[in-house]
């Protein structure tokens, strides 16, 4: 890329010059041929194998949910006093996964981190799919999902309104807003790319579908001007959502009086955890994508290196949060809080607490080494570890806090059933099926955005201070 005209190349210290974002020679045309060709060709054998696996998982999940609908939610392990259990664990887990996409597409956009352009599309898609997986759980958890519309405040003949002071209702609004905004953001970003696909399409059906989806986008400068403005505004709005959605989810816990939940650290702690889990998932998927779809020149090792650094930073934040939880428990001199914290590491579910701590805090420390950040083995190990660890963190927060609270006569050990695990597996099936389908029909890399940051993509400067 061209340095600013005002600053001569020699004036910039070597360390501050951003290395190229792509490897080898990439031109706008070659980018289209590489990225947009994938949906146009017959998928490779691995894709079908992958789809078979994910669809199997999906149908196991559908079967389990069907069984729950027929027999009732007693098929799950949820029982007094652990009423939330898997449904809410999985809900929080999936909503959290989504946060990486929004962070990459919104916050990194505002910070002008141009490396985000190559991975933003995939991460945003993962956000939407993760929120879809997340939404399944509250819906089935309410027991009678066909009455789910009761969650919304609408005038009805029961003459009832929802309770606006309940964090659970805030959740309804937060998650719906999050989904709508993410979908809007994703679709707006896709429009110019779909227009490219429309103009490349040869088949008639393909042409009609992409024509409709592209809405007649023609790349006019007057359109780009509004488009860029809209994108910037959406990035700003979505930034607020990154921070708010998981905060609102954490209110479900923090505003209650259950020891282990009633803590002011919960909102930032949840947001950090969400970004942490989301980045791990993105790294995991990107490694597969760049290998199987031959995108090594666009999703470079530098991308993975930066992502791993974010994971490391978030891991340290999580460690701090865990320590603060312990500190709060000790400093509060509240015996219930104290016991609730000791339960995490020494109680019946102490193993889950240690899985959380080792997967989230200890294993990611390997990323301090540059070699580990450049090695598939270590980064995938860390990513899988973080995914498991973050799931167990929510298990610890929900089950460990609930199974023993103030009243010892109500204490009970919670055991999930196979149906619980089947539904969880099913959502992984939903998620990865959607990821695979997405990779087949839409450009997995935002070609328009990457074109704009290729060397020579922007006009050289004529005295003004416009730069990317």
């Amino acid at each position: 890329m061209k340095p600013d005209a005002a600053i001569l190349p020699g004036d910039i210290p070597e360390a501050l010059i951003e290395p190229a974002l792509t490897v080898g020679v990439v031109t706008p045309g070659s980018l289209d041929d590489q990225v947009l060709a994938f949906p146009e060709t017959k998928p490779p054998k691995q894709w079908y194998i992958g789809l078979a696996v994910t669809l199997t998982a999906l149908f196991i999940g559908v079967g389990c949910i069907g069984y729950v609908f027929v027999t009732g939610i007693g098929a799950w392990g949820n029982t007094s006093p652990v009423f939330w259990a898997f449904d809410i664990i999985n809900f929080v887990f999936w909503v959290g996964i989504g946060h990486a996409g929004t962070l990459i597409s919104a916050i990194l956009f505002l910070f002008r981190k141009r490396w985000r352009n190559a991975i933003a599309r995939f991460a945003e898609a993962m956000t939407i799919f993760a929120v879809i997986c997340a939404v399944i759980f509250p819906l089935i958890h309410i027991g009678r999902p066909w009455l789910a519309y009761w969650l919304f405040p609408y005038p009805n003949q029961r003459a009832l309104w929802t309770n606006f002071r309940s964090p659970l209702l805030w959740d309804v609004f937060a998650v719906n807003t999050y989904f709508s905004v993410s979908a809007m953001f994703w679709y707006l970003g896709l429009i110019p790319d779909i227009a490219s696909m429309r103009d490349r399409a040869t088949g008639k059906v393909r042409k009609v579908i992409y024509t409709v989806l592209a809405m007649g986008w023609r790349g006019a400068a007057s359109h780009w001007q509004h488009y860029e403005k809209a994108y910037l505004l959406l990035a700003g709005l979505a930034t607020g959502l990154v921070l708010s959605v998981h905060s609102v989810v954490s209110f479900d816990f923090a505003t209650s009086v259950v020891p282990g939940w009633h803590m002011t650290i919960f909102p930032p702690y949840f947001v950090a955890g969400a970004i942490f889990a989301g980045f791990a998932m993105v790294v995991m998927v990107l490694v597969v994508v760049r290998e199987t779809m031959q995108l090594k020149n666009l999703i470079t090792m530098r991308h993975l290196d930066v992502m791993n650094k974010v994971i490391l930073a978030m891991s340290c934040l999580m460690g701090y949060s865990y320590m603060m939880e312990g500190f709060t428990a000790w400093y509060s001199m509240n015996e219930y809080l104290h016991r609730s914290f000791m339960n995490i590491i020494t109680g019946t579910y102490g193993w889950a607490g240690w899985v959380t701590i080792s997967c989230n805090i200890l294993i990611p420390q390997i990323l301090w080494f540059k070699k580990a950040r450049a090695s598939y083995f270590w980064m995938v190990l860390v990513a899988v570890g973080v995914t498991i660890g973050m799931w167990f963190e929510r298990f610890v927060i929900i089950v460990v806090s609930l199974h023993q609270d103030y009243l010892p006569s109500a204490w009970r050990i919670y055991k999930p059933t196979m149906i619980d695990f089947g539904v969880l597996l099913g959502t992984f099936g939903v998620f990865f099926t959607l990821v695979l389908l997405f990779a087949r029909v839409l450009p997995v890399i935002a070609t328009t955005e990457v074109k704009a940051i290729l060397p020579g993509a922007q006009p050289s400067h004529q005295g003004d201070d416009h730069h990317a």
């Binding site: 003459a159 807003t177 110019p192 490349r200 986008w217 403005k229 993509a457 003004d464």
Partner: protein, 379 residues
């Protein structure tokens, strides 16, 4: 080149060539200058002299509107239409409304930014634009930078426009014919698509109609309704009398209620109503009478209630001379102990409520047998 042109397009290979050509082509003053590029070029809006996008202001206004809407909606529901006390807060406490205000603000703002940009400012979807059917469009969405001189009037000289673009460095020029009037609606496949959607709607509607007509509607998860439990006002095979709701055991006294007066009705005749005759007592008596007595004894206590026909029994006409002559205590005794088919109401009514009803019955009797003096008092 065709007689009337919509525009002439000049194709450029690099952004720099395009940017350099813009001032030249604009200076030729042959028509409106527009650029078509694969991605947004920095600085092109100044070069083309485009107005600043008004989107920011629109989003701000709609965002504020979203916040106000959310606050008003929540306040009206939580404080006015359906006030419920949660967590000991007053019904109008607004702090808990903030999260939803934030979410709705973002929602309004996002939809304004996205849909406002697409529909209002860019006038999309628009499938009939001449550029979309040009040869250059494949390059525009790929790696070519196109400058268009668009006709402003009938006098547009497409040959001169092509020359101007070539002089500015265009490697290729293309004249676009003027489109048919309203190309969007005459476009064949759009009509066919709309027809298809219409047919699909009709078919789906008919299918739904006959499916619900011919096949029984099965409520999912019936076991939730059909569990072995007693329902109010419903039959049950569990009890001998076949009723789901059972009478309390004789002599039951609810917590906080006085024990039932014992003895015969004659003995109760001497009891005196301890309540003062105030509007509050009257209102209470009226409420209890409406809830407990009116269904049998009737609105004016003449023994013609809505249940009389269905029930078989004949409730007492309290307007009969016999009851007009009753002392308060005997009515009280009947309420407490029940009489003939009438069950005891002692378990349901507090001492105060029982006497209030007595008062109300007295008022009904007086109203049905009013004397001339009563009229004067009323005046």
């Amino acid at each position: 080149m065709p007689e009337t042109s919509y525009a002439v397009l000049g194709v450029f290979e690099t952004p720099d060539a395009l940017m350099k050509a813009i001032p030249q082509v604009r200076a030729s003053k042959l028509g409106t200058v527009e650029a078509y590029t694969p991605y947004a070029l920095h600085g092109i809006e100044e070069a083309l002299g485009l107005r600043r996008s008004p989107l920011g202001g629109m989003v701000l206004v709609m965002g504020i509107l979203g916040a106000i809407t959310a606050f008003g909606f929540q306040y009206w529901i939580s404080a006015i239409d359906y006030p419920i006390i949660t967590g000991g807060k007053s019904a109008g406490s607004w702090e808990a409304f903030i999260p939803i205000m934030f979410e709705v603000t973002v929602l309004f703002a996002t939809f304004t930014a996205g849909l406002g940009m697409l529909f209002l400012l860019n006038k999309l979807p628009f499938f009939g634009h001449p550029v979309l059917s040009s040869k250059a469009i494949k390059g525009i969405t790929r790696d070519r930078y196109v400058l268009a001189l668009e006709a402003e009037s009938e006098a547009f000289d497409s040959a001169a426009a092509a020359r101007a673009l070539q002089a500015a460095g265009a490697i290729e020029v293309e004249a676009l014919p003027a489109p048919d009037r309203s190309p969007f609606l005459t476009s064949d496949w759009v009509l066919r698509t709309l027809g298809g959607i219409f047919t699909a709607c009709v078919v789906a509607g008919l299918a739904m109609y006959f499916a619900t007509k011919w096949f029984p509607v099965l409520a999912p998860m019936k076991y939730i309704q059909e569990q072995p439990r007693l329902n109010a006002q419903k039959a049950s095979s569990f009890f001998k009398d076949g009723h789901g709701m059972q009478q309390p055991v004789p002599g039951t006294v609810a917590r906080g209620y006085l024990p039932t007066a014992t003895g015969t009705q004659e003995e109760a005749a001497s009891l005196v109503n301890p309540l003062p005759r105030t509007p509050e007592v009257f209102a209470l008596g009226k409420k209890v009478y409406k809830n407990r007595c009116e269904v049998c004894h009737g609105a004016v206590a003449n023994g013609v209630g809505s249940l009389t026909a269905a029930y078989g029994a004949k409730p007492a006409n309290l307007q009969a001379q016999q009851f007009l002559d009753y002392p308060d205590g005997k009515i009280y005794w009947a309420i407490v102990n029940g009489k003939n088919a009438m069950p005891s109401h002692a378990p349901y009514l507090s001492e105060r409520e029982r006497w209030a009803v007595v008062d109300y019955v007295r008022a009904l009797q007086r109203a049905q047998n009013a004397k001339d003096e009563d009229l004067k008092v009323a005046r």
